[in-house]
């Protein structure tokens, strides 16, 4: 087991290295002079020179990559071209809202989607199943900002139940925090719920057709025990895997959701950085999100044994 954990952790190093190389190289993949690209169309030659120097573009490529990685490993992601603040500081200032939004969405989505999928599988072919599947297709099809605006319009503007926009820090109390985040979380959760509900339904259908489910029925087990004890535990591995993979959707969606609901998180930071071509910030955020994504999926790999005793490392 321990050997497996070590091996698995080591295996993420090359993946992260490729991510880092890619994120670093993005700047040089674009046609033309990177400094000029970052400086934008209205820049003076002095601006371009200043950026060139701050990025260390005069040194050889691999040397720059090496020192960039070295700095990142020491917690230095460079300095924002626009604000001159360290990128790590900027990320620290913005991380709480994004983390809050994503965790709330995750909890909300999993606790809605899994029972939904189980219900659909149990009632396969009925109107309930069709409703769940229809909801799933809608979830995949209606973009997150459309849901966001719709929810904000109905629940904040028309009904006036919840604040329209903004964010309240968790330190100001749970309910003010929740009040601001609940609509964004539902909007962001749409696709994620659709994804998890669909895989839950499909896996449950497969599991419910297995011989051991028939055995459980023959023993006189009730419907609840068959669905949630006998079947769901067997279906857990694919479901948990998809929950992990779906984090990518959450990250992408968070960028947009934060724009719609004016949440001052990493998503807003990314959008602002793009508009200002603040490349060190973009690199930092992309790298951070990718790292989180890889880490979450690594953890999920490691918890498989909790669900399935047949998996041994």
């Amino acid at each position: 087991m321990f050997a497996y954990v070590v091996r698995r952790v080591l295996a993420t190093i090359p993946v992260m290295a490729i991510v880092a190389l890619f994120v670093f190289s993005l700047l040089y993949l674009a046609p033309g002079d990177p400094a000029a690209v970052i400086a934008g169309d209205q820049a003076t030659p002095q601006d371009v020179e200043r950026i060139r120097a701050s990025l260390g573009l005069d040194r050889p490529y691999l040397v720059r990559f090496g020192s960039w990685v070295w700095d990142i490993l020491h917690g230095d992601m460079g300095v924002s071209i626009f604000t001159n603040l360290p990128v790590t500081t900027m990320i620290q200032q913005r991380i709480e809202p994004t983390l809050s939004l994503m965790i709330l969405t995750l909890i909300l989505a999993v606790s809605i989607a899994v029972p939904m999928g189980v219900l659909a599988a149990w009632k396969q072919g009925t109107i309930i199943d069709r409703a769940v599947m229809a909801f799933a297709v809608l979830g995949f099809s209606v973009p997150v900002f459309v849901v966001g605006y719709l929810l904000a319009y109905v629940f904040a503007l028309e009904l006036d139940w919840l604040p329209v926009q903004g964010y309240t820090a968790f330190s100001n109390g749970f309910f003010p925090w929740l009040e601001n985040l609940i609509l964004p979380a539902i909007a962001l959760g749409g696709v994620y719920i659709a994804l998890i509900a669909r895989i839950t339904r499909a896996t449950m259908l497969e599991v419910l057709g297995q011989d051991y489910i028939r055995t459980a029925r023959a023993k006189g087990a009730g419907q609840g025990s068959i669905l949630f004890l006998h079947a769901l535990k067997n279906a857990a591995v694919p479901i948990v895997t998809v929950i992990g993979i779906g984090i990518a959707l959450l990250i992408g969606g968070a960028v947009v959701t934060e724009s719609v609901f004016a949440i001052p998180g990493l998503g807003r930071l990314t959008v602002d950085a793009i508009l200002r071509r603040d490349y060190p910030v973009i690199q930092g955020v992309v790298l951070l999100f990718s790292f989180v994504y890889v880490l979450v999926n690594l953890l999920i790999d490691l918890v498989y044994t909790l669900f399935d005793p047949r998996i041994r490392y």
Partner: protein
């Protein structure tokens, strides 16, 4: 014992002294299966609905100039932010442009981006996946790189790519394609590897069939079904990504009326003039829904095994 002999219609024809079994009643009534085109639609309603909605949207995009539209980029400060009316069906935006015309022309951008990314990502992904599935040395390198690329959330990757380039439809297509390629490659590689293990492929290899022939005859036809399904989903995802990119200002240039751009422009006013955001949102959702339904239908029809899985 329940061997009671009951008289039945056939008993009349039976000779004397022959014990005739009672006919068993029908417990279930059979359902009539329809054949032909109507039957196909009944069996695959999602494909029918998705296909016709998408066709409608394509027709709207092609014939936008004929559908009572005006110049979608014509500014008219005098008639800013008019509510929807008989004159301006979807109202006008803050620069006085006709939202109806902009939304109809916006279909062009979404569909071009969606279809182009689907085709490009499929072709490139197919090639990469084939190479990885067939050349062991290339496989480990390619899959490492793909793993790395897949660790970057696709929208973020597209954003990062767009941040570097000038906004244009062409660049949006390239950026989204790059973000989608790893998934297709993985899919194709998986299919190729499992097909190579199939007895009939192994038999062809044993019979001395040359590799290009095997790929052409056995591998390619079998990857076509899953890749077609995947392509429709990519098309849907690409349309959403394009809208997101444009919405946050990293997509098509603002001069081009794309649904994401129209919504981005309506954003500042959405609390007072929600219709500017509303109409492109509805069109985008319906189009993506149509493509997704088509994809689900195709999946059910082409690959029942995969349909069971997801």
């Amino acid at each position: 014992m329940s061997s009671a002999t009951v008289l039945s219609p056939t008993a009349a024809t039976a000779p004397q002294g022959v014990a005739v079994a009672a006919p068993t009643p029908d417990v279930l009534l059979p359902v009539k299966a329809r054949k032909g085109f109507i039957g196909f639609l009944r069996r695959h309603p999602t494909m029918a609905i998705g296909g016709s909605l998408l066709l409608l949207m394509v027709l709207v995009a092609i014939f936008a100039p004929l559908l009572w539209t005006t110049d979608p980029t014509a500014l008219a400060p005098a008639r800013r932010t008019r509510e929807p009316s008989a004159m301006y069906w979807f109202g006008t935006d803050m620069l006085g442009r006709d939202v109806y015309s902009r939304v109809l022309y916006g279909a062009r951008v979404s569909l071009i981006v969606g279809f182009s990314v689907a085709i490009l990502a499929s072709v490139v992904g197919l090639t990469i996946g084939m190479i990885a599935g067939y050349i062991r040395l290339a496989d480990s390198i390619i899959m490492r790189v793909m793993d790395g690329l897949m660790s970057i959330p696709p929208i973020l990757l597209a954003i990062a790519l767009m941040a570097l380039t000038r906004g244009s439809v062409q660049n949006v297509i390239i950026a989204i394609t790059i973000a989608e390629i790893p998934r297709v490659s993985r899919l194709v590689r998986g299919v190729v590897l499992s097909l190579r293990e199939q007895p009939y492929v192994e038999a062809a290899v044993a019979a001395g069939t040359r590799t290009p022939m095997i790929i052409w005859r056995h591998i390619l036809p079998n990857t076509l079904a899953p890749i077609t399904v995947q392509a429709t989903y990519i098309c849907a995802a690409a349309m959403i990504t394009e809208a997101i990119l444009s919405f946050i200002g990293a997509g098509t240039p603002p001069i081009i009326p794309s649904w994401g751009n129209i919504m981005a422009e309506g954003r500042a006013l959405w609390q007072v003039k929600p219709y500017i955001v509303f109409f492109p949102a509805v069109f985008l959702s319906i189009t993506v829904l149509a493509v997704n339904l088509l994809g689900d239908g195709l999946r059910d029809a082409l690959d029942p095994r995969m349909a069971k899985r997801i």
